[in-house]
C-alpha cells in the first residue's frame, strides 16, 4: 500500500485532522504547477483587462442596469479562460480545479463581479460534470471549445433558484417542503417539456447553455428532481428581467422563463430513469449529485471571498503606507493602523487556508478527484490534447460510458467522502465570506472619507462581498450543513427542525 493510500485508509481518518496534510503526498505535483501558472495568468489578466474595467463597469451598471459585459466575455474567451479548466478529454486545457480556485481568488482581489463572469461558467461545468453524463458533457464542452476557436464565446450558467426557493433548493430534504415553481413533464421519447421560472441566475443573459435543476412532480420534488441542459434560443425559453443588485454588478443576475420548452432526451443530464439503475433511492442519489456540486462550488465561492479579503487588505495597506496626517506624521506609524492591517492580513490568509482545505478534500475524494485519476493524468500528459479529444469523442457518446461513470462515481460514492467534501465546502464558504465582509469594513474604517468614495474602490468591495454571504446557500444554511456533515454524531440528531413544529414531531426520531 502506498503512503498516500495508507493515509487515506488510516483510522481515525487522518483527513479529519487536516485534509491538506493528507493531500500533500496524494495530489499530483502537476496540480501545484497549475496553481503557480494560474496565479501568474490571473495577475496578467488583472493588469491588462480587469483593473482598467472594474470601477467604470460598476458605475455604468449603476446608471443603466441593462448593461451587459459582452466585450469582457469575448476577451475572457480570447484568453482561453472558458476552456482552460475543462479536461483535455473534451479538448480543454486540463488544468486542475485547485488552480481554478487560485485563479478566481486572484481575479477577485481586483473585481469579484468580473471573476464571477468567468467563475460561474465553471459552476455550470461542475453541475453538468456531477451528473457524469458522458455524452452530454462531451457535446456541451465540445461547443465551448469550438466557441473559443471561433471567437464566439459559449459559456454555461446554472439555474437552481426560483421565486419561492433559494438556499433550500440545494438541500433535498428542504426542497421537499417548498413550493417549486418549475417542473418538467416527461414525453414518450424520454425528453421533457419544461415550464416555470428561475431567478437570480448569474450570467443568465450571457450563457449559451443553461444547466437547470427542476423536478417532474412539484408535490414530490426530492423523488422526481432532475438536471436538464437547455441552450439559449430554444423555443419556449426566453430571458426575463435583469436584477438590480447592490454589488457584483458586472455579473448579471437573470430571470429565465420556460413556457412549454421542449428538452430532448439527449439534453437530459440526469433523471429518475438513470437513478433507477442504481441501488439507492432517487432522493439519496440527488443529494449525492448536489453535494458533488456544492462541495466544489462552495470552495469556489470561498476562493472568490478570499480574493475580496485579500484585495481589501492590499488596497488599505497601499493607502495607509502612502498617507501622512495633516501634521506630517506617517499614518502607518499609529499602532491602531498597524493592528488593523495585521487583522486584515490574517483574515485574508485564513480565508485562503479554508478554501484550500476544501479544495484538497475535493481533490482527494470529491469532484476534482474523479477528473484527475492517475490513468487520466498520464494520458493527458503524454497524449497531445487534440488527439486525446478525438480518441475520446466516440467512447464518450456510448451509453455504457455514462452507466459506468454513474455507477462508480454516484451510486458507489462513499458517504464519508460525501460528508467530508460537503461539510468542508460549507465551512469554506461561510468562513471566507464572513472574512471578506469583515476586511471590507476594516478597509473602509482605515481609509476614512476615501473609504466611502466609489473612485477609491473599497466601498465597492463591501457591496460585492455581501452577496458572498448569500448565494450558494446562505451562510446560515451552510452552518447547518456543516453541523449535518461533520458535527452531529449520527442522523438521530435531526437538522432542519422548525421552531414551530409541533412538539411531538420534534421529539419523534426520524
Amino acid at each position: 500500500m502506498t503512503v498516500a493510500a495508507a493515509l487515506r485508509h488510516a483510522r481515525p481518518p487522518f483527513a479529519d485532522w487536516a485534509t491538506s496534510l493528507s493531500a500533500v503526498s496524494a495530489v499530483p505535483k502537476v496540480f501545484t504547477d497549475d496553481v503557480r501558472q494560474a496565479i501568474a495568468l490571473a495577475r496578467r489578466f488583472n493588469a491588462e483587462v480587469v483593473r482598467p474595467l472594474a470601477l467604470d463597469l460598476d458605475a455604468a451598471v449603476q446608471e443603466d442596469p441593462d448593461v451587459l459585459p459582452y466585450e469582457f466575455v469575448a476577451e475572457a474567451n480570447r484568453w482561453g479562460l472558458y476552456t482552460r479548466w475543462l479536461p483535455k478529454l473534451y479538448g480543454g486545457g486540463g488544468w486542475s480545479f485547485l488552480s481554478l480556485n487560485a485563479f478566481v481568488e486572484e481575479v477577485s482581489s481586483a473585481c469579484v463581479g468580473l471573476a464571477n463572469v468567468v467563475g460561474v461558467h465553471y459552476l455550470g461545468v461542475a453541475a453538468l460534470s456531477s451528473t457524469w453524463n458522458a455524452a452530454l458533457t462531451a457535446r456541451v464542452y465540445g461547443e465551448v471549445v469550438a466557441g473559443e476557436r471561433a471567437d464566439r464565446p459559449c459559456i454555461l450558467a446554472l439555474g437552481i433558484t426560483e421565486p419561492t426557493g433559494g438556499s433550500d433548493a440545494e438541500e433535498i430534504e428542504l426542497a421537499g417542503r417548498g413550493t417549486a415553481v418549475s417542473y418538467a413533464v416527461r414525453r414518450p421519447d424520454g425528453g421533457y417539456v419544461l415550464n416555470g421560472r428561475k431567478i437570480f441566475i448569474s450570467n443568465g443573459h450571457l450563457a449559451r447553455w443553461h444547466v437547470i435543476v427542476t423536478c417532474e412532480d412539484r408535490e414530490h420534488v426530492p423523488d422526481t428532481a432532475m438536471v436538464l441542459a437547455v441552450p439559449a434560443g430554444t423555443p419556449g425559453f426566453r430571458l426575463g428581467t435583469q436584477e438590480k443588485k447592490m454589488g457584483q454588478k458586472a455579473c448579471v443576475a437573470s430571470e429565465l422563463v420556460f413556457e412549454d420548452c421542449p428538452v430532448p432526451r439527449e439534453q437530459v443530464a440526469f433523471d429518475r430513469t438513470m437513478s433507477a439503475r442504481m441501488g439507492r433511492p432517487h432522493r439519496e442519489v440527488m443529494q449525492v449529485l448536489l453535494d458533488y456540486v456544492v462541495a466544489a462550488t462552495r470552495a469556489g465561492v470561498g476562493a472568490f471571498a478570499a480574493g475580496v479579503a485579500a484585495g481589501a487588505y492590499e488596497e488599505a495597506r497601499a493607502w495607509a503606507l502612502a498617507r501622512t496626517l495633516p501634521d506630517g506624521t506617517p499614518f502607518a506609524e499609529q499602532q491602531w493602523v498597524q493592528t488593523a492591517l495585521a487583522d486584515m492580513a490574517r483574515n485574508a490568509l485564513v480565508a485562503r487556508m479554508s478554501y484550500l482545505e476544501s479544495g484538497y478534500a475535493n481533490s482527494l475524494v470529491g469532484l476534482y478527484a474523479a477528473m484527475s485519476s492517475a490513468p487520466l493524468l498520464q494520458m493527458e500528459r503524454w497524449v497531445p490534447g487534440r488527439l486525446l479529444a478525438r480518441l475520446a469523442a466516440k467512447p464518450m457518446r456510448w451509453d455504457v460510458t455514462t452507466r459506468l461513470l454513474q455507477h462508480h462515481l454516484i451510486e458507489r460514492y462513499p458517504r464519508d467522502a460525501q460528508s467530508l467534501t460537503s461539510g468542508l465546502g460549507s465551512l469554506a464558504k461561510f468562513t471566507c465570506s464572513d472574512l471578506a465582509v469583515a476586511n471590507a469594513h476594516l478597509a473602509m474604517d482605515l481609509m476614512g472619507a476615501d473609504g466611502l468614495r466609489h473612485d477609491h474602490g473599497v466601498e465597492k468591495r463591501l457591496r460585492d462581498a455581501k452577496l458572498l454571504q448569500i448565494y450558494e446557500g446562505t451562510n446560515q444554511i451552510n452552518r447547518v450543513n456543516l453541523f449535518k456533515c461533520r458535527i452531529r454524531p449520527d442522523e438521530t440528531t435531526r437538522v432542519f427542525v422548525r421552531d414551530d413544529d409541533p412538539v411531538q414531531v420534534r421529539r419523534d426520531v426520524a
Binding site: R177, K244, K245, M246, P326, L446, A449, L452, R453, R463
Partner: protein, 371 residues
C-alpha cells in the same frame, strides 16, 4: 422606543412623519443623483426644516438638537438622503450659533429660510485636509464630500489659516467665480444627497469664528446625538422590514420566522435597535439638562457599529431578495455605513475620544491604598 424629552417639540416629529409618509415612502431605489431630490428639498424647506436650528438673528427658530433629532429619526426611516440634507443644514447653523458670530457680520449670512447650507459629510478635524484661508480672507484649496455641495448657494466649513494658527470656521458663497464644484460624488450610500467636491481658488470667505477647534468641540456632542437619530431611523426601518418579510415569506414548509436561525437574527435586530434607542434617549436627556456629552460621543460610535450590524443582517434576512435594490434593505445597509462616518471614521474617532475621556473626571474612584 426612544425616550423623547420636551414633549412640546413632538409637533416637529409629527410634521416630519407626515411629510415622510406622504412624500418619501415611494422614493426607494437609492439611485445616484436622483433628479427628484431637489423637489423634496424645496418641500422640506417649506416645512421649516431649514430654520429648525438656525440663529434667531437669521430668522431661525433655534429649536435645538431635541427637535432636530425627532425630525431626523422620522425622515431617515423613509429616506436617509433627505434626512442627511436636513442634518447637514442644521449642523451648519448649529456651528454658526456656537460660533457666536458678531452682529456686524450677520448681514453677510443668508437668512435661515432662504436656502440650504452645505456642510462637510465627513468632518473629523484631524483626519482631513481643509482649505487654506489667506490673510485677505480668501479661501484656496479643496473640500471633499460637502453635503448639498452641488446645489446649495453657501457652505459652512473649517479652514486653516495660512501661516499657522487655529482652525477657522468660515462661510463661503458657492456661486463665486473661483468655486469649482464636481459631483454629485458617488459614495457607498446617501446616493441622492447631492454631495460634491468643491475646489476654492481665492474665494472670499466670511470668518464666523477664529476658534474652530473650540466650536467643533462644543458641537461634537450635539452632532453625535443628531447622527444617532439618523442611524436609529434607518435601523428602525431595516428591523421592521426584516420582521415583516419573515412573517410573509414562506420557505421550507412555512413562514421563515419559524426557523430558529431566522429568529436568532430577528432577536439580534431587536437587541441592537433597543440598545441604540436607549443610548439616544440618554443622550437627548443629557442635551436637555446640559449634561456632559462625552457619553453621547461614545454612544454615537457604538450606535454606528450597531447600525452597521443590524442593516447587514437586515439584508441577510431577506436572502437573495435582500441584495436586490427593489427591496430597500441593501440601500439601508449602504446608508447606515455612510451615516456611521458622518462625524469622522469610527477607528480614528475612537482614538481621539480617549484624549477627551482621560481629561474628564474619573467615574470610578481609585482604590484605597493598602495600609
Amino acid at each position: 422606543m426612544i425616550r423623547w424629552p420636551e414633549a412640546a417639540l413632538e409637533e416637529w416629529g409629527t410634521a416630519a412623519e407626515e411629510f415622510a409618509r406622504d412624500r418619501l415612502a415611494a422614493v426607494g431605489g437609492h439611485g445616484h443623483a436622483d433628479p427628484a431630490f431637489r423637489a423634496r428639498l424645496d418641500a422640506m424647506r417649506g416645512l421649516g426644516f431649514t430654520e429648525l436650528c438656525a440663529d434667531t438673528r437669521l430668522d431661525g427658530l433655534e429649536q435645538g438638537v431635541p427637535a432636530l433629532a425627532r425630525v431626523l429619526e422620522r425622515l431617515a426611516a423613509y429616506d436617509p438622503s433627505a434626512a442627511t440634507a436636513v442634518y447637514a443644514n442644521a449642523a451648519a447653523h448649529l456651528a454658526i450659533v456656537a460660533g457666536r458670530v458678531p452682529s456686524d457680520r450677520l448681514p453677510m449670512l443668508p437668512a435661515a429660510g432662504s436656502g440650504w447650507l452645505a456642510w462637510p459629510a465627513f468632518q473629523d478635524l484631524g483626519e482631513v485636509q481643509w482649505p487654506r484661508l489667506g490673510e485677505e480672507g480668501l479661501l484656496s484649496g479643496a473640500c471633499g464630500m460637502l453635503v448639498l455641495g452641488t446645489v446649495a448657494d453657501h457652505a459652512v466649513l473649517p479652514a486653516r489659516p495660512v501661516g499657522g494658527g487655529g482652525l477657522r470656521l468660515v462661510l463661503a458663497d458657492l456661486r463665486e467665480p473661483g468655486v469649482t464644484r464636481t459631483g454629485p460624488v458617488r459614495t457607498i450610500g446617501l446616493s441622492s444627497c447631492d454631495t460634491g467636491d468643491v475646489a476654492f481658488d481665492r474665494v472670499p470667505a466670511v470668518v464666523l469664528t477664529r476658534h474652530g477647534e473650540q466650536v467643533f468641540g462644543e458641537l461634537a456632542g450635539h452632532l453625535a446625538v443628531a447622527s444617532m437619530a439618523l442611524l436609529c431611523g434607518v435601523m428602525r426601518a431595516s428591523q421592521d422590514a426584516g420582521e415583516r418579510y419573515a412573517h410573509e415569506r414562506t420557505q421550507g414548509g412555512g413562514p421563515i420566522i419559524g426557523w430558529g436561525e431566522v429568529r436568532r437574527l430577528l432577536s439580534l435586530q431587536q437587541e441592537r435597535l433597543r440598545v441604540a434607542q436607549g443610548v439616544l434617549g440618554d443622550a437627548l436627556a443629557a442635551v436637555t439638562t446640559g449634561g456632559d456629552l462625552l457619553s453621547a460621543r461614545y454612544g454615537a460610535l457604538h450606535v454606528g457599529s450597531l447600525a452597521t450590524d443590524l442593516t447587514t443582517d437586515g439584508v441577510q434576512l431577506l436572502g437573495g431578495n435582500g441584495y436586490m435594490v427593489d427591496y430597500g434593505q441593501e440601500g439601508r445597509m449602504r446608508d447606515a455605513r455612510q451615516l456611521a462616518c458622518l462625524t469622522g471614521g469610527p477607528a480614528w474617532r475612537r482614538q481621539q475620544l480617549l484624549t477627551v475621556a482621560l481629561e474628564a473626571p474619573r467615574q470610578v474612584p481609585a482604590p484605597a491604598a493598602r495600609p
